[in-house]
């Protein structure tokens, strides 16, 4: 099933999008993933190409199952990855995402994680590095259904702006209809520490290398523990090198 009508900015999930670019890739096909009861799988989505891209992953993680999703969203003038996740009882969902944008890129990650039954765990780590006039957006909703007690959900959202002309939007959101839940979210937008940069340069690192070294650790947080951690970090570093 695909929605045929192009959304407008009135739709919360498209508030910061590039509508012209979106029109070029609309409609967006749903990519469905089912993780059956008790199973455990992982997926890495790496977007580093030149073309505009919009993806929509619809994931169901059944009872006691686990899904590990990693996103590297860095390609195209427009790159959008939407992820809808439904968690069954005791299911576990891990999302680690890095967005790396420069020039006039518009990048967005939009998630909706629904805890439908008790004792499911969701962990989301989003790291954005934005240079030039790039815009990076994370809209993340965690919904806890009635009766989904014992829910444990975390969202950690951080963005680093390399230029004053870059923009980061972050909106972690909670909608809770159960009583016994643990939901945490943290969100920060900042710049690289100038004292740290001088310290690294005073030891001989060029300004781009000093920035790369500081950002490498920042981005690595999104890929920590991933089955393909090394490949993802290497791909992100390669892209980062072009931004600096």
């Amino acid at each position: 099933m695909t929605t045929v009508a192009l959304p407008s900015r009135k739709s919360e999930d498209f508030r910061y999008t590039d509508l012209d670019a979106l029109a070029g890739v609309w409609p967006v096909a749903r990519e469905e993933v089912l993780v059956p009861t008790g199973q455990s799988t992982s997926l890495s989505v790496v977007e580093l190409g030149d073309n505009d891209v919009a993806r929509h992953l619809v994931i169901e993680v059944e009872e006691g199952a686990a899904f590990d999703l990693r996103l590297l969203n860095a390609g195209g003038a427009f790159g959008r990855i939407a992820v809808d996740v439904t968690l069954g009882q005791g299911a576990r969902f891990t999302l680690g995402a890095a967005q790396l944008g420069g020039g006039a890129q518009t990048l967005e990650i939009v998630t909706e994680v629904t805890h439908t039954a008790p004792d499911a765990v969701s962990r989301q780590v989003i790291r954005s590095v934005l240079a030039g006039r790039a815009t990076g957006t994370y809209l993340g909703k965690v919904a806890v259904a009635r009766g989904a007690d014992g829910t444990d959900a975390e969202q950690s959202v951080r963005a680093m702006l390399l230029d004053r002309t870059a923009t980061a939007n972050a909106r972690p959101e909670l909608e809770i209809f159960a009583d016994d839940v643990k939901c945490a979210h943290g969100c920060a937008v900042g710049e690289l520490d100038a004292t740290g940069l001088f310290y690294l340069q005073s030891r001989g690192l060029t300004p781009p290398d000093a920035k790369r070294l500081m950002l490498q650790a920042f981005i690595a947080e999104a890929f920590a523990g991933a089955p393909e951690e090394e490949r993802l970090c290497a791909a992100a570093l390669g892209r980062l090198g072009k931004l600096l």
Partner: protein
Amino acid sequence: MLQITDLHATVTASGAEKPILKGLSLTVNAGEVHAIMGPNGAGKSTLGYTLGGRPGYTVSGGSVSFDGQDLLALEPHERAAAGLFLGFQYPVEIPGVSNVQFLREALNAQRKARGEGPLSGGEFLKLAREKAGLLRMDMDMLKRPVNVGFSGGEKKRAEMVQMGILDPKFAILDETDSGLDIDALRIVGEGINAIMRKPDKAVLLITHYQRLLDYVRPDFVHVLAGGRIVRSGGPELALQLEEQGYEEVA
């Protein structure tokens, strides 16, 4: 090696430019250790940061020649590659970046700038182990993120390990003795001697206290006050300062 002539520098703080160095002149030759002492606010750290090229520290007059080059025309990383090392009073924490990775990249960046080939991982670790041993620092600490979770004394020893690995021609050590207990002070003092007491190297020690100078014997001692060197002498000047204070002597 280093010739500072009539140096004037301002520091930008909350949008305003404040003059700190007001005509400082100093010559340091190869093989010499100079100590700069002086009251709080005299401009000691400003001198270190200005020579290191820290943003926010602006030279408004004078010149600095380092091995015949115009030091002030170089970027901070170029100054490092030219052989300058600045030991920080407050070494900076860099989360997520290991000392080993940072120092290997820094050393190889300096070597590249000098037209030398990079050190392999094995060669670097051998060098790092040797220099860490000199400062009695465990190699495990060098695998941890730069200065994160280090005590004040460990940070200062780590600075000296960095200096040993990078092997500069000229080191400016800004209150490297502050925050050190008696044993650590001796270890750091001996480390400075082992690394820098050589005919082709020189050191500028910025300190408040005589005690470091018991381990690292200076050839010259200068008193910095009001942004200028107001008095120079031999090691006996430091002892006199310790006894009589800055107001009497300067």
